[in-house]
């Protein structure tokens, strides 16, 4: 039997970065806020103790912090004619779970997308003609510009204490920063991280090749910092346990480090953990959300009424909740109609790995965002004429870790076991570095999310089904970027290199990136977007949907900086406009 709870002003689904920021700001605005989180409570002192956090088996291999596929996973196929099967064990991506979400175990690379990324469709057509767009694409301009988002990028970066060097302050190019970035109003809140030996080689080689290297913006911060919420951070010690781990050192920005200490003091806020929202409840006409239904860890069903419902789960699960609740028209690939599930995208990759002699790269001295980068080949920072692809990549020389269960580079052709293997592992641990490209993925009619017809979660609800593969555009991009990476690493002094472009169908097995975007995208046209430019559902205006699910396609960067900026952008719209006059903020 469903038990009904007293109503709240705001019901937030998922207590990660976006949920915790909105909860804090809306509680401070005088609203009663409840956040429902299906995973456990987690805080730094209890869960990420410095004596037990550096544990590769527990966290990286056995996946302790991630959503357990037994609770929910997605099914996957490469093309619409194939049978989708469940991802039974995470590999290619690692969705988070619990308070803090994926913001607990991210690496911390915190970028702003480039001004061109927000206008990629119209700019590409203007510069190269509409034949330059790939076959079957669904590429859309964003409904916001870089200039509109700039103050919100700034707010997120200052909450997170990001370490970096500005390359463009109010239009003036700054030495040492990224000269291609959009104009920013002020410097990063903390200075760039100290770089290691491989990054020094990269910076020298890239400069000699006429490129423009800079330290990658990092949420593993370089110096003590107190953020605008009064949360205090300590400098990163390069322990090499970022991605897949919580930070015990208060050095990596996360909801735990940067938001929760302030949020938990708000008297109008309450978090409920191990409570899985199963549905957003709608009024009879389907145009108004009345609250949510959730199931607690003992199977009891509750109805939580609320006047404003904000979906702040990971991208997949926002989309799935919309589909299960009937918010917006589901995307139908055959008819190319509908919006929820449309424009799923991911991240492309490429690069070159090299074996050096007589070096000590000390890969264990690392941080999730340690790295030197160039942006010369990103977005439209270079001439795409006759290249056969649109989009670009950030190119980086980085170590995120040297943890030896997974990090044991050996030259191609080395046996996988035995004395020869053992010798190669010993000899090469210090000698390998790589230059990697993190590329954009465009949106396509054939890459989408819908509900699976066969596989269900333990509550009997259909799993989300993903249909995705890399298209020729992304494969050409990966090949071309791998060549550029190879040029740089050879200029660093490498004699033998191995290029690593995309080959074969996209596979769920090797880890690639947890940058799953789209499915509930923002746009100017309700026929081709689920959300308006304020991340508000076109169909149910008291539902807002945060996160990378709103990206119309993905850029050549990690998404969290843009997710943070969109959150503050939506917050201002909710607080300053929606609350004064609830209803659609954009007329369809």
């Amino acid at each position: 039997m469903v038990r009904r709870l007293p109503p709240k002003d705001v019901v937030i689904v998922g207590l990660g970065w976006t949920g915790s920021i909105l909860a804090l700001e809306l509680a401070r605005a005088g609203l009663e806020v409840v956040a429902l989180e299906r995973g456990p409570w987690r805080d730094t002192a209890t869960d990420f103790n410095i004596g037990t956090t550096p544990d590769e088996l527990r966290y990286s291999i056995r996946h302790e912090l991630f959503l357990r596929p037994r609770q929910e996973t997605v099914t996957m196929r490469n093309t619409p004619d194939q049978l989708a099967l469940p991802i039974r064990r995470w590999g290619s991506f690692l969705p988070g779970n619990g308070v803090g979400g994926a913001g607990v175990h991210w690496n911390g690379q915190t970028w702003r997308f480039l001004p061109n990324d927000f206008k990629i469709r119209s700019n590409t057509i203007a510069r190269y003609g509409d034949k330059a767009l790939p076959d079957g694409n669904h590429i859309q301009d964003w409904p916001v510009t870089y200039e509109e988002l700039e103050p919100y990028y700034d707010r997120f970066e200052y909450v997170a204490g990001i370490s970096g060097k500005a390359g463009n302050l109010k239009g003036a190019t700054q030495p040492g920063g990224n000269p291609f970035e959009g104009a920013r109003a002020r410097e990063y809140p903390t200075k760039p991280l100290t770089q290691g030996y491989a990054q020094d080689l990269f910076t020298k080689a890239a400069t000699e090749r006429g490129l423009h290297p800079f330290p990658r913006p990092s949420a593993n911060i370089s110096e003590p910092y107190t953020n605008p919420y009064g949360c205090r951070m300590a400098p990163c010690t390069f322990c090499g346990f970022c991605e897949r781990f919580g930070c015990a050192n208060y050095s990596k920005s996360s909801p735990q480090t940067c938001v929760l200490p302030a949020l938990m003091r708000e008297p109008l806020f309450e978090a409920r953990t191990e409570c899985e929202v199963t549905k957003v409840n709608l009024s009879g006409d389907g145009k108004h959300a009345t609250g949510v239904t959730y199931v607690d860890s003992q199977g009891q069903e509750w109805e939580q009424p609320g006047e404003l419902v904000i979906l702040c789960a990971f991208s997949f699960f926002n989309v799935r909740l919309m589909l299960l609740s009937g918010i917006g028209q589901p995307y139908d690939r055959d008819r190319d109609e509908g919006v929820v599930g449309r424009n799923y995208a991911y991240q492309s990759a490429g690069g070159s790995t090299a074996f050096f002699e007589n070096v000590n790269f000390n890969p264990f001295a690392a941080a999730g965002s340690l790295g030197a980068a160039v942006d010369d080949y990103n977005s439209d920072n270079f001439d795409h004429t006759n290249l056969g692809f649109v989009g670009g990549a950030s190119i980086t020389c980085a170590y995120t870790n040297g943890r030896p269960i997974l990090y044991r580079p050996v030259p191609p052709g080395t046996p996988t076991w035995g004395s020869a293997w053992k010798r190669a592992v010993k000899d090469n641990y210090q000698k390998v570095t790589s230059v990697g490209a993190q590329g954009s993925v465009m949106s396509y009619r054939d890459c989408f999310l819908d509900l699976d017809p066969t596989y269900k979660d333990p509550l009997g609800r259909p799993l989300l089904r993903m249909t995705f593969d890399y298209k020729n555009n992304e494969r050409k991009l990966s090949d071309w970027m791998s060549d550029r990476c190879d040029e740089i690493i050879r200029a660093m002094g490498a004699k033998t290199t191995q290029k690593t472009p995309i080959r074969g169908p996209w596979s769920v097995i090797p880890y690639q990136t947890t940058h799953n975007t789209g499915g509930a995208i923002m746009g100017d046209d309700p026929k081709t977007s689920a959300l308006n430019r304020y991340l508000q559902s076109w169909d149910v205006p008291n539902v807002f949907v945060m996160g990378a699910s709103a990206f119309p396609q993905n850029a050549g960067y990690n998404p969290t900086g843009t997710v943070g900026a969109l959150t503050y952008w939506a917050l201002d719209a909710i607080r300053d406009r929606y609350l004064k006059s609830p209803g659609p903020l954009v007329q369809a």
Binding site: P7, L31, E32, D43, L57, P267, Q298, L579
Partner: protein, 242 residues
């Protein structure tokens, strides 16, 4: 403020009202960080001793198998000396052994795409039980009644190479080999608290310093050899009784 004026006045009492209506099935957290000093969730140290999952003949086979995968040679101890058999045994006895955290609902179609990853209903515990039995059977019939542990190292390597290449035809042979190799590497390189990597021999082999957690000195002096010995969650042998 259309939404909240009414209830803002009642906020305090509303909080208590909800808490009272809400049972202890899940956690409600409000008012402060729910943190207690010295509360943490450490792993339980594996204690050596009798096996929890392996039968004696299985443990003997795993000892022999992992000793070939990571041999004891001039570079140092191998997987057997590092306690990898105990590591695998304890892993199989825990949630990993049953794939307790994974999605294991059917159907399991016979011909999944390679890109769809793990699609077998066989959990690691069954993988070992069946794989070791099939290997013993294969060895007995091929080597006149001997089991894997009885073979000379060169013959053992031949069997392992055949398993890896799919030339030794036992049921799910390649899957068994992949499972065994992955678990061996986990056991050789994971923190010693889980029973393998005894004396941090895996870390010493490559030069991984373990859980030292602060490498600002390394960053300050690039391209220098790192000379400090590794440290594990349980500390370091030189520090006491570990």
């Amino acid at each position: 403020m259309a939404l909240s004026t009414r209830r803002r006045l009642l906020a305090g009492s509303a909080l208590f009202g909800v808490a009272a209506a809400f049972p202890a099935a899940a956690r409600t957290i409000a008012g402060a960080m729910p943190w207690n000093p010295n509360e943490a969730y450490p792993p339980s140290p594996v204690l050596p001793g009798r096996y929890l999952f392996f039968r004696p003949e299985e443990a003997a086979a795993v000892d022999a198998l992992v000793a070939r995968l990571v041999p004891n040679d001039e570079l140092g101890p191998g997987a057997k000396e590092a306690g990898v058999t105990t590591f695998i045994d304890r892993q199989l006895a825990g949630p990993y052994g049953g794939h307790d955290w994974l999605y294991m609902q059917g159907p399991f179609p016979a011909n999944p795409l390679p890109s769809q990853g793990l699609q077998s209903p066989v959990v690691p515990r069954d993988g070992y039980r069946q794989g070791l039995a099939a290997l013993a059977e294969y060895c007995r019939s091929t080597y006149s009644g001997k089991v894997f542990a009885d073979l000379p190292p060169a013959e053992q390597d031949k069997v392992l190479t055949g398993l890896e290449k799919g030339e030794v035809k036992i049921k799910d042979g390649r899957a068994f080999f992949d499972l065994l190799l992955a678990n061996t590497m986990e056991g050789f390189f994971s923190d010693p608290i889980y029973g393998g990597n005894r004396d941090m021999v895996g870390w010493k082999l490559v030069g991984f310093p373990g859980t030292r957690y602060d490498y600002r000195d390394v960053m300050a002096k690039p391209n220098q050899p790192y000379t400090l010995p590794p440290v594990a969650i349980g500390g370091q042998p030189a520090w006491g009784n570990r």
